[in-house]
Amino acid sequence: LALYFHMGEREEKCIIEDLPSDTLVVGNYKVQRWDIHKHDFLESAPGLGMFVTVTTPSGEVLLSKLYGPQGTFSFTSYLSGEHIICFQSNSTRFAVIAGSKLRFHLDIRVGEHFLDESAIEAKDKMNEVNVRLEHLIEQIHHVTKEQDYEREREEKFRKTSEETNSNILWWAIVQTLILISVGIWQIKSLRDFFISKKLV
Protein backbone atom coordinates (compact mmCIF):
# COMPACT_ATOMS: atom_id res chain seq x y z
CA LEU A 1 0.00 0.00 0.00
CA ALA A 2 2.42 2.58 -1.16
CA LEU A 3 0.69 5.26 -3.18
CA TYR A 4 -1.27 7.77 -1.16
CA PHE A 5 -2.92 11.16 -1.49
CA HIS A 6 -4.63 13.64 0.78
CA MET A 7 -8.29 14.42 1.00
CA GLY A 8 -10.53 16.51 3.20
CA GLU A 9 -12.49 14.91 6.00
CA ARG A 10 -15.86 15.18 4.35
CA GLU A 11 -14.57 15.20 0.81
CA GLU A 12 -15.52 12.53 -1.67
CA LYS A 13 -12.80 11.35 -4.00
CA CYS A 14 -13.60 9.23 -7.00
CA ILE A 15 -11.59 7.25 -9.44
CA ILE A 16 -12.73 5.94 -12.79
CA GLU A 17 -12.15 2.41 -14.01
CA ASP A 18 -12.99 1.51 -17.57
CA LEU A 19 -13.70 -2.21 -17.41
CA PRO A 20 -14.89 -4.94 -19.73
CA SER A 21 -17.73 -7.07 -18.38
CA ASP A 22 -17.13 -9.94 -15.94
CA THR A 23 -13.97 -8.41 -14.55
CA LEU A 24 -13.00 -8.76 -10.94
CA VAL A 25 -11.65 -5.65 -9.27
CA VAL A 26 -10.03 -5.79 -5.85
CA GLY A 27 -9.06 -2.70 -3.90
CA ASN A 28 -6.94 -2.28 -0.80
CA TYR A 29 -6.93 0.93 1.12
CA LYS A 30 -5.76 2.44 4.36
CA VAL A 31 -6.81 5.79 5.75
CA GLN A 32 -5.08 7.87 8.38
CA ARG A 33 -6.22 11.01 10.06
CA TRP A 34 -4.06 14.04 10.73
CA ASP A 35 -3.54 14.72 14.41
CA ILE A 36 -3.12 18.38 15.31
CA HIS A 37 -1.29 17.75 18.54
CA LYS A 38 1.24 15.29 17.24
CA HIS A 39 1.53 17.01 13.85
CA ASP A 40 1.51 13.69 12.16
CA PHE A 41 -0.88 11.19 10.75
CA LEU A 42 -2.17 8.75 13.34
CA GLU A 43 -1.44 5.14 12.68
CA SER A 44 -4.97 4.11 13.53
CA ALA A 45 -7.96 6.25 14.29
CA PRO A 46 -10.77 4.50 16.12
CA GLY A 47 -14.18 5.00 14.67
CA LEU A 48 -12.86 6.21 11.35
CA GLY A 49 -14.39 4.43 8.42
CA MET A 50 -14.76 4.85 4.71
CA PHE A 51 -17.83 4.60 2.55
CA VAL A 52 -16.97 2.85 -0.66
CA THR A 53 -19.47 3.31 -3.47
CA VAL A 54 -19.17 1.71 -6.89
CA THR A 55 -21.41 2.97 -9.71
CA THR A 56 -21.88 1.12 -12.99
CA PRO A 57 -21.93 2.84 -16.40
CA SER A 58 -25.73 2.71 -16.36
CA GLY A 59 -25.87 4.66 -13.11
CA GLU A 60 -26.71 1.72 -10.88
CA VAL A 61 -24.94 1.35 -7.57
CA LEU A 62 -23.06 -1.91 -7.52
CA LEU A 63 -21.47 -1.66 -4.12
CA SER A 64 -22.09 0.70 -1.24
CA LYS A 65 -20.59 -0.30 2.06
CA LEU A 66 -18.91 1.15 5.07
CA TYR A 67 -15.51 -0.31 5.82
CA GLY A 68 -13.07 0.37 8.64
CA PRO A 69 -9.91 2.49 8.50
CA GLN A 70 -8.19 -0.28 6.63
CA GLY A 71 -9.93 -2.62 4.31
CA THR A 72 -10.33 -4.57 1.15
CA PHE A 73 -13.27 -4.32 -1.18
CA SER A 74 -14.03 -6.16 -4.37
CA PHE A 75 -16.65 -6.27 -7.05
CA THR A 76 -17.22 -7.88 -10.42
CA SER A 77 -18.45 -5.80 -13.30
CA TYR A 78 -21.35 -7.23 -15.27
CA LEU A 79 -21.65 -4.35 -17.69
CA SER A 80 -18.72 -3.09 -19.67
CA GLY A 81 -17.92 0.57 -19.38
CA GLU A 82 -16.77 3.24 -16.99
CA HIS A 83 -17.27 2.31 -13.38
CA ILE A 84 -16.82 5.02 -10.78
CA ILE A 85 -15.39 4.08 -7.40
CA CYS A 86 -15.96 6.75 -4.75
CA PHE A 87 -14.52 7.08 -1.29
CA GLN A 88 -15.86 9.21 1.50
CA SER A 89 -15.08 9.04 5.15
CA ASN A 90 -17.84 8.64 7.72
CA SER A 91 -16.38 11.38 9.84
CA THR A 92 -19.03 13.56 11.42
CA ARG A 93 -16.56 16.06 12.79
CA PHE A 94 -16.90 19.62 11.67
CA ALA A 95 -14.56 20.49 8.89
CA VAL A 96 -13.72 23.78 10.54
CA ILE A 97 -10.90 22.18 12.45
CA ALA A 98 -7.96 23.68 10.66
CA GLY A 99 -5.56 21.35 8.98
CA SER A 100 -7.82 18.39 9.31
CA LYS A 101 -7.24 16.02 6.47
CA LEU A 102 -6.94 12.37 5.70
CA ARG A 103 -4.13 10.41 4.13
CA PHE A 104 -5.58 7.81 1.83
CA HIS A 105 -3.45 4.85 0.69
CA LEU A 106 -4.84 3.01 -2.28
CA ASP A 107 -4.04 -0.03 -4.35
CA ILE A 108 -6.47 -1.19 -7.02
CA ARG A 109 -6.00 -4.37 -9.00
CA VAL A 110 -8.06 -5.18 -12.02
CA GLY A 111 -8.57 -8.61 -13.48
CA GLU A 112 -6.03 -10.23 -11.22
CA HIS A 113 -6.37 -13.86 -10.50
CA PHE A 114 -5.33 -14.80 -7.02
CA LEU A 115 -3.31 -17.93 -6.98
CA ASP A 116 -3.44 -20.64 -4.43
CA GLU A 117 -0.41 -20.09 -2.21
CA SER A 118 -0.09 -23.73 -1.23
CA ALA A 119 0.22 -24.78 -4.85
CA ILE A 120 3.21 -22.49 -5.22
CA GLU A 121 4.91 -23.91 -2.18
CA ALA A 122 5.13 -27.35 -3.75
CA LYS A 123 8.68 -28.35 -4.45
CA ASP A 124 7.71 -30.29 -7.51
CA LYS A 125 9.20 -28.58 -10.54
CA MET A 126 6.36 -29.59 -12.84
CA ASN A 127 3.84 -28.01 -10.51
CA GLU A 128 5.66 -24.70 -10.50
CA VAL A 129 5.58 -24.45 -14.27
CA ASN A 130 1.93 -25.49 -14.18
CA VAL A 131 1.12 -22.63 -11.88
CA ARG A 132 2.93 -20.15 -14.08
CA LEU A 133 1.13 -21.42 -17.14
CA GLU A 134 -2.23 -21.08 -15.44
CA HIS A 135 -1.41 -17.50 -14.62
CA LEU A 136 -0.39 -16.83 -18.21
CA ILE A 137 -3.62 -18.35 -19.48
CA GLU A 138 -5.54 -16.09 -17.13
CA GLN A 139 -3.68 -13.08 -18.45
CA ILE A 140 -4.42 -14.06 -22.03
CA HIS A 141 -8.11 -14.39 -21.23
CA HIS A 142 -8.04 -10.93 -19.78
CA VAL A 143 -6.35 -9.57 -22.91
CA THR A 144 -9.06 -11.21 -25.03
CA LYS A 145 -11.83 -9.69 -22.91
CA GLU A 146 -10.27 -6.28 -23.25
CA GLN A 147 -10.05 -6.71 -27.00
CA ASP A 148 -13.73 -7.57 -27.26
CA TYR A 149 -14.59 -4.54 -25.21
CA GLU A 150 -12.34 -2.45 -27.45
CA ARG A 151 -14.23 -3.69 -30.51
CA GLU A 152 -17.52 -2.57 -28.93
CA ARG A 153 -16.15 0.87 -28.22
CA GLU A 154 -14.65 1.30 -31.65
CA GLU A 155 -18.05 0.51 -33.11
CA LYS A 156 -19.62 3.21 -30.99
CA PHE A 157 -16.89 5.62 -32.06
CA ARG A 158 -17.45 4.86 -35.72
CA LYS A 159 -21.22 5.29 -35.35
CA THR A 160 -20.72 8.69 -33.72
CA SER A 161 -18.39 9.82 -36.51
CA GLU A 162 -20.78 8.66 -39.21
CA GLU A 163 -23.68 10.35 -37.44
CA THR A 164 -21.70 13.60 -37.35
CA ASN A 165 -20.97 13.25 -41.03
CA SER A 166 -24.59 12.71 -42.01
CA ASN A 167 -25.72 15.46 -39.60
CA ILE A 168 -23.47 17.94 -41.35
CA LEU A 169 -24.76 16.93 -44.79
CA TRP A 170 -28.41 16.97 -43.71
CA TRP A 171 -28.21 20.36 -42.03
CA ALA A 172 -26.32 21.89 -44.94
CA ILE A 173 -29.14 20.82 -47.28
CA VAL A 174 -31.84 22.05 -44.89
CA GLN A 175 -30.15 25.39 -44.42
CA THR A 176 -29.73 25.90 -48.16
CA LEU A 177 -33.43 25.15 -48.68
CA ILE A 178 -34.41 27.55 -45.91
CA LEU A 179 -32.16 30.19 -47.44
CA ILE A 180 -33.66 29.81 -50.91
CA SER A 181 -37.27 29.64 -49.79
CA VAL A 182 -36.96 32.54 -47.39
CA GLY A 183 -35.19 34.58 -50.09
CA ILE A 184 -38.03 33.96 -52.53
CA TRP A 185 -40.60 34.80 -49.89
CA GLN A 186 -38.75 38.02 -49.04
CA ILE A 187 -38.70 39.23 -52.63
CA LYS A 188 -42.32 38.30 -53.24
CA SER A 189 -43.51 39.86 -50.03
CA LEU A 190 -41.64 43.09 -50.62
CA ARG A 191 -42.80 43.32 -54.23
CA ASP A 192 -46.41 42.89 -53.21
CA PHE A 193 -45.92 45.43 -50.48
CA PHE A 194 -44.42 48.07 -52.75
CA ILE A 195 -47.09 47.45 -55.39
CA SER A 196 -49.79 47.95 -52.78
CA LYS A 197 -48.10 51.16 -51.67
CA LYS A 198 -48.00 52.27 -55.27
CA LEU A 199 -44.28 52.89 -55.10
CA VAL A 200 -43.49 50.56 -57.99
Partner: protein, 216 residues
Protein backbone atom coordinates in the same frame (compact mmCIF):
# COMPACT_ATOMS: atom_id res chain seq x y z
CA UNK B 1 -7.44 -3.11 -17.16
CA UNK B 2 -4.38 -5.36 -17.25
CA UNK B 3 -3.34 -7.17 -14.11
CA UNK B 4 -0.93 -4.90 -12.33
CA UNK B 5 0.27 -4.64 -8.82
CA UNK B 6 2.13 -7.89 -8.32
CA UNK B 7 3.13 -8.81 -11.83
CA UNK B 8 3.72 -12.53 -11.81
CA UNK B 9 2.82 -15.21 -9.32
CA UNK B 10 4.78 -15.13 -6.06
CA UNK B 11 8.01 -17.12 -6.19
CA UNK B 12 8.07 -20.33 -4.20
CA UNK B 13 10.31 -18.95 -1.49
CA UNK B 14 8.13 -16.21 -0.06
CA UNK B 15 10.91 -15.24 2.31
CA UNK B 16 13.16 -14.37 -0.60
CA UNK B 17 10.47 -12.22 -2.10
CA UNK B 18 9.89 -10.38 1.14
CA UNK B 19 13.56 -9.56 1.33
CA UNK B 20 13.71 -8.20 -2.21
CA UNK B 21 15.10 -4.70 -2.00
CA UNK B 22 12.79 -3.32 -4.60
CA UNK B 23 9.37 -4.87 -4.47
CA UNK B 24 7.83 -4.03 -7.81
CA UNK B 25 4.68 -2.02 -7.57
CA UNK B 26 2.59 -0.34 -10.20
CA UNK B 27 -0.34 1.93 -9.55
CA UNK B 28 -2.52 3.11 -12.34
CA UNK B 29 -5.40 5.41 -11.58
CA UNK B 30 -7.83 7.32 -13.76
CA UNK B 31 -9.35 10.28 -11.98
CA UNK B 32 -11.17 13.47 -12.75
CA UNK B 33 -9.35 16.72 -12.16
CA UNK B 34 -11.80 19.62 -11.74
CA UNK B 35 -10.96 23.03 -13.18
CA UNK B 36 -8.54 25.12 -11.15
CA UNK B 37 -7.63 22.08 -9.13
CA UNK B 38 -4.41 20.32 -8.33
CA UNK B 39 -4.08 16.72 -7.25
CA UNK B 40 -0.92 15.31 -5.69
CA UNK B 41 0.16 11.74 -5.11
CA UNK B 42 2.91 10.53 -2.84
CA UNK B 43 4.93 7.36 -2.76
CA UNK B 44 7.74 6.12 -0.60
CA UNK B 45 10.61 4.86 -2.68
CA UNK B 46 13.86 3.24 -1.66
CA UNK B 47 17.15 4.49 -3.01
CA UNK B 48 18.31 3.07 -6.30
CA UNK B 49 14.88 1.99 -7.48
CA UNK B 50 14.11 2.63 -11.10
CA UNK B 51 10.69 4.25 -11.45
CA UNK B 52 8.55 5.29 -14.38
CA UNK B 53 5.73 7.81 -14.41
CA UNK B 54 3.48 7.87 -17.43
CA UNK B 55 0.37 9.99 -17.80
CA UNK B 56 -2.21 10.84 -20.40
CA UNK B 57 -5.17 13.19 -20.53
CA UNK B 58 -8.27 11.41 -21.78
CA UNK B 59 -11.07 13.96 -21.89
CA UNK B 60 -11.51 17.65 -21.39
CA UNK B 61 -10.74 20.96 -23.08
CA UNK B 62 -7.48 20.96 -24.99
CA UNK B 63 -6.51 17.60 -23.48
CA UNK B 64 -3.52 18.97 -21.59
CA UNK B 65 -2.39 19.14 -18.00
CA UNK B 66 0.61 20.36 -15.98
CA UNK B 67 2.70 17.70 -14.32
CA UNK B 68 5.44 18.01 -11.73
CA UNK B 69 7.54 15.41 -9.97
CA UNK B 70 9.57 16.22 -6.86
CA UNK B 71 11.96 14.21 -4.76
CA UNK B 72 11.91 14.19 -0.90
CA UNK B 73 14.12 17.30 -0.79
CA UNK B 74 11.74 19.27 -2.94
CA UNK B 75 14.04 19.21 -5.95
CA UNK B 76 11.95 19.20 -9.09
CA UNK B 77 12.86 16.18 -11.18
CA UNK B 78 10.30 16.69 -13.91
CA UNK B 79 8.16 19.66 -14.75
CA UNK B 80 6.07 20.09 -17.88
CA UNK B 81 3.26 22.49 -18.62
CA UNK B 82 0.25 21.69 -20.77
CA UNK B 83 1.35 18.26 -21.84
CA UNK B 84 -1.05 15.79 -23.38
CA UNK B 85 0.98 12.64 -22.84
CA UNK B 86 4.41 11.90 -21.46
CA UNK B 87 6.54 9.19 -19.93
CA UNK B 88 9.37 9.84 -17.48
CA UNK B 89 11.85 7.35 -16.06
CA UNK B 90 14.15 8.11 -13.16
CA UNK B 91 16.23 6.33 -10.56
CA UNK B 92 15.60 7.30 -6.97
CA UNK B 93 18.70 9.02 -5.68
CA UNK B 94 17.67 8.78 -2.05
CA UNK B 95 15.12 7.21 0.25
CA UNK B 96 11.99 9.12 1.00
CA UNK B 97 8.61 10.22 -0.16
CA UNK B 98 8.40 11.31 -3.76
CA UNK B 99 5.55 13.51 -4.82
CA UNK B 100 3.97 14.10 -8.19
CA UNK B 101 1.18 16.54 -8.94
CA UNK B 102 -1.21 17.18 -11.79
CA UNK B 103 -2.52 20.67 -12.13
CA UNK B 104 -5.48 22.02 -14.05
CA UNK B 105 -5.14 25.49 -12.60
CA UNK B 106 -4.75 27.18 -15.98
CA UNK B 107 -8.19 26.07 -17.06
CA UNK B 108 -11.25 28.04 -16.02
CA UNK B 109 -14.11 25.75 -16.78
CA UNK B 110 -13.06 22.46 -18.28
CA UNK B 111 -12.35 19.54 -16.02
CA UNK B 112 -10.04 16.86 -17.26
CA UNK B 113 -9.86 13.13 -16.88
CA UNK B 114 -6.26 12.10 -16.29
CA UNK B 115 -4.76 8.63 -16.34
CA UNK B 116 -1.39 7.91 -14.81
CA UNK B 117 0.71 4.82 -14.32
CA UNK B 118 3.48 4.91 -11.74
CA UNK B 119 5.74 1.91 -11.83
CA UNK B 120 8.20 1.43 -8.99
CA UNK B 121 11.01 -1.05 -9.30
CA UNK B 122 11.58 -3.86 -11.72
CA UNK B 123 9.45 -6.96 -11.69
CA UNK B 124 10.84 -9.92 -9.78
CA UNK B 125 12.08 -12.70 -12.04
CA UNK B 126 9.56 -15.43 -12.77
CA UNK B 127 11.88 -18.24 -11.88
CA UNK B 128 14.28 -16.96 -9.24
CA UNK B 129 17.78 -18.32 -9.54
CA UNK B 130 18.52 -18.49 -5.81
CA UNK B 131 17.08 -21.92 -5.25
CA UNK B 132 18.21 -23.79 -8.30
CA UNK B 133 21.36 -25.48 -9.43
CA UNK B 134 20.63 -25.86 -13.13
CA UNK B 135 19.77 -23.34 -15.80
CA UNK B 136 16.18 -22.74 -16.81
CA UNK B 137 14.55 -25.55 -18.72
CA UNK B 138 13.07 -24.91 -22.12
CA UNK B 139 9.60 -24.87 -20.60
CA UNK B 140 10.60 -22.22 -18.11
CA UNK B 141 12.35 -20.12 -20.75
CA UNK B 142 9.24 -20.31 -22.89
CA UNK B 143 7.18 -19.19 -19.89
CA UNK B 144 9.45 -16.24 -19.31
CA UNK B 145 9.32 -15.09 -22.91
CA UNK B 146 5.54 -15.48 -23.07
CA UNK B 147 5.28 -13.47 -19.88
CA UNK B 148 7.41 -10.68 -21.32
CA UNK B 149 5.44 -10.67 -24.57
CA UNK B 150 2.15 -10.54 -22.67
CA UNK B 151 3.38 -7.66 -20.58
CA UNK B 152 4.09 -5.65 -23.69
CA UNK B 153 0.74 -6.67 -25.21
CA UNK B 154 -1.04 -5.40 -22.13
CA UNK B 155 1.00 -2.21 -22.26
CA UNK B 156 0.09 -1.55 -25.89
CA UNK B 157 -3.52 -2.41 -25.16
CA UNK B 158 -3.68 0.19 -22.40
CA UNK B 159 -2.18 2.84 -24.65
CA UNK B 160 -4.57 2.00 -27.44
CA UNK B 161 -7.54 2.05 -25.09
CA UNK B 162 -6.60 5.53 -23.87
CA UNK B 163 -6.06 6.88 -27.39
CA UNK B 164 -9.40 5.45 -28.47
CA UNK B 165 -11.15 6.97 -25.45
CA UNK B 166 -9.63 10.31 -26.31
CA UNK B 167 -10.64 10.07 -29.97
CA UNK B 168 -14.15 9.05 -29.05
CA UNK B 169 -14.46 11.93 -26.61
CA UNK B 170 -13.48 14.37 -29.37
CA UNK B 171 -15.90 12.77 -31.83
CA UNK B 172 -18.79 13.05 -29.39
CA UNK B 173 -17.92 16.68 -28.67
CA UNK B 174 -17.87 17.38 -32.40
CA UNK B 175 -21.22 15.69 -32.90
CA UNK B 176 -22.91 17.73 -30.18
CA UNK B 177 -21.39 20.94 -31.47
CA UNK B 178 -22.48 20.26 -35.06
CA UNK B 179 -26.04 19.51 -33.94
CA UNK B 180 -26.40 22.62 -31.76
CA UNK B 181 -24.72 24.93 -34.23
CA UNK B 182 -26.83 23.73 -37.15
CA UNK B 183 -30.10 24.16 -35.28
CA UNK B 184 -28.99 27.54 -34.00
CA UNK B 185 -27.97 28.72 -37.43
CA UNK B 186 -31.26 27.61 -39.01
CA UNK B 187 -33.24 29.50 -36.39
CA UNK B 188 -31.09 32.62 -36.77
CA UNK B 189 -31.54 32.44 -40.53
CA UNK B 190 -35.32 32.30 -40.26
CA UNK B 191 -35.59 34.97 -37.62
CA UNK B 192 -33.29 37.40 -39.39
CA UNK B 193 -34.91 36.97 -42.80
CA UNK B 194 -38.46 37.39 -41.56
CA UNK B 195 -37.40 40.25 -39.34
CA UNK B 196 -35.76 42.05 -42.27
CA UNK B 197 -38.96 42.03 -44.27
CA UNK B 198 -41.11 43.32 -41.44
CA UNK B 199 -38.55 45.98 -40.62
CA UNK B 200 -38.54 47.21 -44.19
CA UNK B 201 -42.29 47.21 -44.29
CA UNK B 202 -42.37 49.28 -41.16
CA UNK B 203 -40.21 51.97 -42.85
CA UNK B 204 -42.94 52.49 -45.42
CA UNK B 205 -45.84 52.37 -43.03
CA UNK B 206 -48.73 54.91 -43.19
CA UNK B 207 -48.03 56.37 -39.81
CA UNK B 208 -46.07 59.27 -41.27
CA UNK B 209 -48.64 61.63 -42.80
CA UNK B 210 -46.00 63.69 -44.55
CA UNK B 211 -45.29 60.89 -46.96
CA UNK B 212 -47.02 61.88 -50.17
CA UNK B 213 -48.37 59.29 -52.45
CA UNK B 214 -47.73 59.63 -56.10
CA UNK B 215 -50.87 60.04 -58.08
CA UNK B 216 -53.42 59.91 -55.33
Amino acid sequence: MPPRGSRGPLPPLLLMWALAACAARASEITFELPDNAKQCFYEEIAQGTKCTLEFQVITGGHYDVDCRLEDPDGVVLYKEMKKQYDSFTFTASRNGTYKFCFSNEFSTFTHKTVYFDFQVGEDPPLFPSENRVTALTQMESACVSIHEALKSVIDYQTHFRLREAQGRSRAEDLNTRVAYWSIGEAIILLVVSIGQVFLLKSFFSDKRTTTTRVGS
